[in-house]
Each structure stands twice: as C-alpha cells, then as structure tokens.
Amino acid sequence: MQHLIFFLLVFMNIGFTSAQLKFSLAHDSLLYIPIRINQEDSVSLLRFYISNIHIEQGRKIIWEAHKKHYLIDFTQNRLATNIVSGTGLENIKKGRLKFTLGVDHKTASQGIGEGPLDPIQGMYWTWQSGYINFKLEGVSSKCPSRKNRFQLHLGGFQKPFRSAQIIELQITGTRANVVFNIHKFLAEINLREAHSIMSPGEKAVSLMEHAKRCFYVQ
C-alpha cells in the first residue's frame, strides 16, 4: 500500500436517521504505530484540525456540521472514527464541500477554547500562543536530524504567516470519499531541509498550502 488514505465518507443512505460525515483511515497498518509509508518514511503522529465544515450549492449553505471545530487524530486515537455530525445530509445530491484545514484566525485570536480546542489536546503552542493546525511526526532516512526524526508542527494565525487553508471539494452522487494523500505530502516536500518546523513562518504556510493540495475526492 503506497498511499495512506483518509476518507471523508458522506453517507446518504436513506436508512440513516441521522446522516454523518466520517473521517476514518483506510489503511491496514494503522494498527501499528509508526505507520510505514514507504521504504524511507514512517509516521508516528498525525493530527489536524478541520473547521467550519459545510456544503454549499451556489452561494447558499445547505448543510453545516454541528460543531465548528474537529480534531482529527489518526495515530494516538487510531481505532476511533472521527465523526462529523450534522442533520439533513440525506437530502443532498451534490454540492461543494468546504472546510478549513486548521483553526481559522478569528477563532485562534480569541482566548482558550474547549473540547477539541482545549490546550490539553496538545495542539496549542504555549511558548507562543496559537493553535498548531497540523501536526505530523515521524522518521525518514532523508532527515539529517537526530535519529532521522521529523517534526512538522504547522500553525500561525497572525499576518503575514496565517497558515489555515480553506479547502473546497466538489461532491456528487450519494457518496463522496475525500482523501488526504500522505504519500504525496511526504514525497513532495524536502525533508532534508524542512524536518523541524515548530513555529509560525514562511515554511509552515508553504507546507500548509501543500497539505491543502493533498486533499481530493475519490
């Protein structure tokens, strides 16, 4: 298996009384941490925020998730399914699924949040306030760092380094799978240079833009 795939499943089966969006991981080796991606790279931690999830038709918002923010965690909480709930999905035939990868800057500029935004989740910088939008850690033989480790903690909500990304994906039919392709993510970044990013800056923004391009509808 060359791809680590995250599905965003849009269940529209009539049998469901409460339709749900599900973030789940379709990868057998998920049971074993670190997750082996290829000969060179493995992932020990992957968590990111998804915010403001909704579906639009034209300019109209026709569906919104119940909660504003979700913390998607495929490694520490690897067996759990990350459920994004909202009502009325069963009536939607097509539309544009939109969400923010990360925590939007308006929320980040406020005080301490609760639930997924609680600092105990380990996704809040304490030396410099603000949320880590996307956290990826692992080992790659390409990294010249100690024990070949890479730590990509991507965040930043203040100009000029706002890193959260708005993602738009067209969905049609009764079911849409939204995939995050981690193979593409790791293959197209320079881990020799960008192996330790732990503060807001140009590199974090650039990697978040790259992460945005790794989501697609299957």
């Binding site: 301490i112 600092p119 105990i120 809040y124 304490t126 030396w127």
Partner: protein
C-alpha cells in the same frame, strides 16, 4: 426597631459596595477603554478569588515549589526584583526579567515580546516552560482534580466540581485582569485631588518633552515594541519581538513597559540590567548603540542636566501606587494559607 434594622442593612450594603469598589479601583475618564472587560465582583467566591488561589499556589509547578507569585510578587507590583533574570523550577535561570503585572486589561499582547496574544493563554507559557514551572496543563488539571481544596474552590465558583483548562485559565486571567493600578499621586492630580510639587511639575514637563512618545500617559506605555538602543548582551542575544514575528525590522525590539509603579519593579529593562533609575537615565543620555540610524526608534540621546534628572525622577515617583502594591485583596490569600498550614 424595624427602622433601625433596615438602617443597619443599608449601612452594611454600603460598606460591602465600598469594599468591593476599593478592591479594583474604577478607572475614570482620563483612562482609555480597556481591551478586556474588567472583572466584577458580585459574590465572595468568584473567578477572581479562584484565580488568586491558583496564582499563589505552588501546585502549578512540576515540583510544587514555584507559583506565579514566585516571579510576580504583589509587594513589587507583581514584578521580580533582586535578580536580573527571573528564575524558576530547580533554580533554573531564564533569559528575561519578569515584568510587573497591572493594568493588563489595557494590554493587547503579553510577555516582553508579545508572544502571547490573549490573556487566557498567557499562563500556559510559564506553566509549560522547563525553566519556569516545568509542568503542563494536563498534569496541573490532574493535581487540581485530586485536591479536595480545589474541588471545593471550583464548586464555590461554578456550583459544580468540573475542573478543566478553560475554567482554570479563565480564573487566572480574571485575577490578573483585576490588578488595576490607578491610585498614584499622578492619578490624584489628574482627578483634581492633589497637586504636583514644583519639582514634580518641572519633571512632568521634561517627561512630556522627552519620554511621553513611548511611555505615553496615562498608561505610560504606547503598547508598541521598540528598540531603545540597549547594547546587545552577547550572553543572551535575545532578539525580542523578532522571535515572534520573524520580521527583520523587529530585531531587538521589546514591549515598551509602563512606568507606573517603577519604584517597586526594579531592576529595569527586559534583562534587568539596570538597578536604579539613574542608570536608566544615564543610558538614555548616551547616543551610543543606535543600530539603524535614520530608522531607529530612538534617534537622539536625551541630554538632561543633573537637576533636570532629579526633577524627572521626582515626577516618575508620582507614578507609584502604594494602594495597589499593598492592597490586601491582591496579596497571598488567607484561605490558601490556612489550607497549607492544615495540610
């Protein structure tokens, strides 16, 4: 008999209202609107009271030996004296001098470099710093949840025993926001309740000519980050605001501190390099170390005669707020003291 009882109640209510008012002096018209809402005190057991307990309790640190008050002493306007650089857990020495804590509701960002953008997030920084408290919010919550004292304190505040990071950090923020200091002689003059002496008046004039641009009254800070031409301390090479923004023009800039309560908040500057006000004025009278001539925040030296310095210092001393520093509502809480004695 009935009238007498009613009168006693009314007097009682008046005294309570007066006491509460004393606790956090109301800013008056010459004070700008704060960024944060000031805490109100409707009950005895409010978030401010809970925040005060947490602020003074060593439970915040990994080894239960360091509290917020370790570096922010109420008798020093919540600054850290005696040490250039503040020290924390296991006698670890940091890289900066802990600033005084007052009028925080008027601050947009916190820390010398503005690394914390919101007061509720501020406590996370020292809590997690390995040289300050060496702990983390998860560990702190576990300790608080295991404590009968805090289960009761949270119940008294919130009417249930849920202890979470939101409540903990909000309580600490509430206590910090309650630290309001506008009862100096300067404030009394501003409200026509006192007059400056001749020397203070002369110092005030000099202040407005030379210092007010950065230490802007009535908060005595413009809230900006500036480079005041301090020689770079190579042992620290603290680049200040640059560490947060990564913008070249922010190198060696630090937040302009308020000059209020300055008798209590020595030593001065972000690294505590000056012990006396005279040393500070000596620095400003020198035009050495201007790093970006033509673009520097402070292009010219401030030349003052010996008498002018004395006048200026005389004015600066009117910014001390003794009522704030010795306000019992801000000092070590008796409730915590009693609990620690029993334990």
């Amino acid at each position: 008999m009935y009238n007498k009882s009613l009168l006693s109640i009314l007097i009682g209510l008046f005294l309570v209202a007066f006491a509460l008012k004393k606790r956090t002096p109301e800013p008056t018209s010459y004070i700008p609107t704060p960024f944060y809402r000031l805490p109100v005190f409707p009950t005895k057991n409010d978030t401010v009271a809970l925040g005060r307990l947490l602020f003074y309790d060593n439970i915040l640190s990994a080894n239960n030996q360091v509290s917020c008050a370790s570096c922010h002493n109420s008798y020093n306007a919540f600054a850290h004296t005696d040490h250039q650089l503040s020290h924390g857990i296991f006698d670890s020495v940091g890289t900066r001098n802990a600033p005084g804590l007052f009028n925080l509701a008027w601050q947009k960002e916190f820390m010398w470099d503005g690394a914390t953008h919101h007061i509720e997030a501020q406590a996370l920084a020292p809590l997690h710093d390995p040289k300050e408290m060496g702990s983390n919010i998860k560990a702190l919550l576990s300790k608080l949840r295991a404590s009968d004292f805090y289960r009761k304190a949270f119940y008294d505040t919130y009417k249930d025993t849920i202890i979470n990071s939101n409540r903990t950090l909000k309580a600490l923020a509430a206590f910090e926001l309650s630290l309001v200091s506008f009862e100096s002689k300067y404030d009394a003059v501003k409200t026509d309740n006192a007059e400056f002496s001749t020397q203070e008046k002369a110092g005030y004039k000099l202040f407005k000519q030379n210092c007010n641009k950065c230490h802007t009254e009535p908060l005595f800070t413009n809230g900006k980050y500036m480079d005041n031409n301090l020689p770079i301390d190579s042992s620290l090479d603290d680049k200040g605001r640059f560490l947060v923004t990564k913008q070249k023009e922010d190198r060696y800039k630090f937040k302009v501190p308020s000059l209020r309560n300055l008798s209590y908040t020595y030593p001065y500057m972000h690294d505590g390099r000056f012990t006396t006000l005279n040393q500070v004025l000596q620095h400003y009278s020198s035009n050495q170390n201007i790093k970006n001539k033509g673009k520097a925040d402070l292009e010219k030296a401030i030349h003052l005669s010996f008498n002018e310095r004395a006048d200026l210092i005389s004015f600066l001393l009117t910014l001390n707020d003794k009522n704030f520093v010795f306000n019992p509502a801000y000092s070590f809480p008796k409730k915590l003291k009693d609990y620690l004695i029993q334990e």
